[in-house]
């Protein structure tokens, strides 16, 4: 798979490149600002862009704005945002349109080399990867809704789903069997009043409801 990276800190950029190359990605371009990123995406049409939120010249949310442009103009390029801290508005902005091919991780996760490479691969393949802290923070504001009916265990399962894990991933994380996870997920669908359509769609809806993103 082909990737570009936009990150203004040289050390971190080298680190990410090393991890991705070790994981078998082909690095098409390495840039240090949003303008360079858009040019690189236009030129290379990569499978994924790994983007720092804070970049020159303003050091505010250049990366997020560039990511939104990429999602809009190059829908086949997935975007993984790296941030020093969690800002839920970034996540909701990014997730509002479409939850496939999106990721939002804290920078320090790069150090967990295998997990980070796995997250990039998942996002590049059209999945999602949300940092546990992002998920926790999005949860802070939503209390008075059907989510309150979930048991703590079901909530954990939903959090991991929101983070982009598959059933087997959730099972491994919680050290339970896959069938137990499936049971929890069914219970979640029932409690959130989700229609019995195809499982993947319900899954996405559950996650969106969880994240407080309103869907039409």
């Amino acid at each position: 798979m082909r990737a570009v990276i936009a990150e203004d800190s040289l050390l971190l950029r080298i680190g990410v490149v090393k991890v991705l190359e070790a994981a078998g990605f082909e690095m098409c371009a390495q840039v240090a600002d949003a303008e360079g990123l858009l040019a690189a995406v236009e030129e290379h049409r990569p499978d994924i862009a790994v983007v720092d939120v804070r970049m020159p010249p303003g050091f505010t949310d250049e990366g997020v704005r560039a990511a939104l442009v990429i999602r809009h103009q190059y829908p086949r390029t997935a975007v993984l945002l790296l941030s020093q801290y969690v800002e839920e508005r970034y996540a909701t902005d990014l997730l509002a349109a479409n939850t496939s091919g999106v990721g939002y991780l804290l920078k320090q996760r790069v150090a967990d080399v295998e997990e980070f490479a796995e997250a990039v691969r998942r996002v590049a393949a059209g999945g999602t990867a949300l940092d546990p802290q992002v998920v926790a923070q999005l949860l802070v504001r939503r209390h008075s809704d059907p989510l309150d009916r979930l048991t703590p265990r079901e909530r954990e399962v939903l959090e991991l789903m929101a983070g982009g894990r598959s059933n087997s991933g959730v099972a491994a994380e919680l050290v339970v069997s896959e069938s137990a996870v499936a049971k929890h997920i069914n219970s979640i669908f029932t409690k959130l009043d989700l229609p019995k359509a195809d499982a993947d769609h319900r899954r996405v809806l559950a996650v969106l409801r969880f994240l407080g993103v309103t869907t039409a």
Binding site: G15, K18, A22, V86, L139
Partner: protein, 419 residues
Amino acid sequence: MQLTTWLQLVLVRPFRRAGHRTALVAAGLPLHLAVVPLWLWLLGTMAALVPALTPLPVLLTLVVTPLLTVGQRRRYRALVGKDLPRPAAPGPGRNWKSAVRRLTGQALWRQVCYHAVAGPLLAVLDLAVLAVWATALVAASIYVWIWALPPQWRVTDLGYTTQAAYITAGGLALLFLGPRLTSALVRLDTRAAEVLLGPSRTEKLARRVADLAESRAGALDAADAERRRIERDLHDGAQQRLVSLAVNLGLARSALGDLPEDARKVIDEAHREAKEAIAELNNLVRGLHPAVLEDRGLDAALSGLAARLPIPVHVAVDMPQRPSPTVEAVAYFVVSEALTNVVKHARATRADVTVERIGETLLVVVTDDGAGGADFAAAGGGTGLAGLAKRVASVDGTFSCRSPAGGPTVITVELPCAP
């Protein structure tokens, strides 16, 4: 003590500035006496029973007061070497309003008091001191007079007698006393000028309070800016380097699969420690000044804070515009400390944080459903509730904690924020 030093101390030093001071005391005499003729004239007219003219001397006093004050200020400067502090200006402009303010203000009447009452009294003392000097000089040099004056000019002919020797001794004693009397009078004179011509005690205190408030705000802002700088430096330097180190160790671990077991363990350990160091540094940086607070404000920073706690915390922030960075930081750390307390002591299952801007006040309320009984007095030192209260007081805010036994605990903080 050596004899020369002693002589220097007793004979030379008192005289060093005596001439200068005496000259200025002499210069004060006409200034101090300037109002006296007006009052004499007033007495005269009263005596002549022309009541219609009574206000005239008062008006004249008011007119000459500012001029005399200017003169006295110059003299003060020459005496003390610095300007006499000015009283607060009655207000800008030269219209009738400011004239009324000037007339009814304390400053003018204190000046009048100085020129009309203290002045004549000081003039008497001035005269006395000058007389001491004159007597001392004449008496100390009595032999010169006896020798120089022709006999027919003398009132009494002393001749070169023992009496003349006594007079010389008395004159020398007065000469010794003269500088001390002069400096005592100068002290009295400058003190009177400071009290009556300078700013009043209230004004001085008000000025001091304003200065202190300003310097304290400056110190707080500087400390805050310094924390932010350290945060940025740590983030741009050490943190990036640690992440890079952890990445390399992680890559080494996965690339070198065929290493012996103990070498692998060492790399594993190093990788884990690097990650822990990153986490610790993150916590440290957050404790200094979270970057998210500077970039995105209280709402985002408090949400992040709430998300890291083990109990559900509901955060509601309603601010049309952001307060100053210092107030923002105080609000953030107050909530942070209050929530830490909730988690540690309150046995609460949930907490609520509301931040609201009402006019020029930032109202922060932290509520929990815990056991209550938080003891404000028991929380010692710079930590806990007492530390919170201090932090709030540093920006002139108010802090209150209601925590009846059985709960709930409500912490209310009001922080002033200029528009």
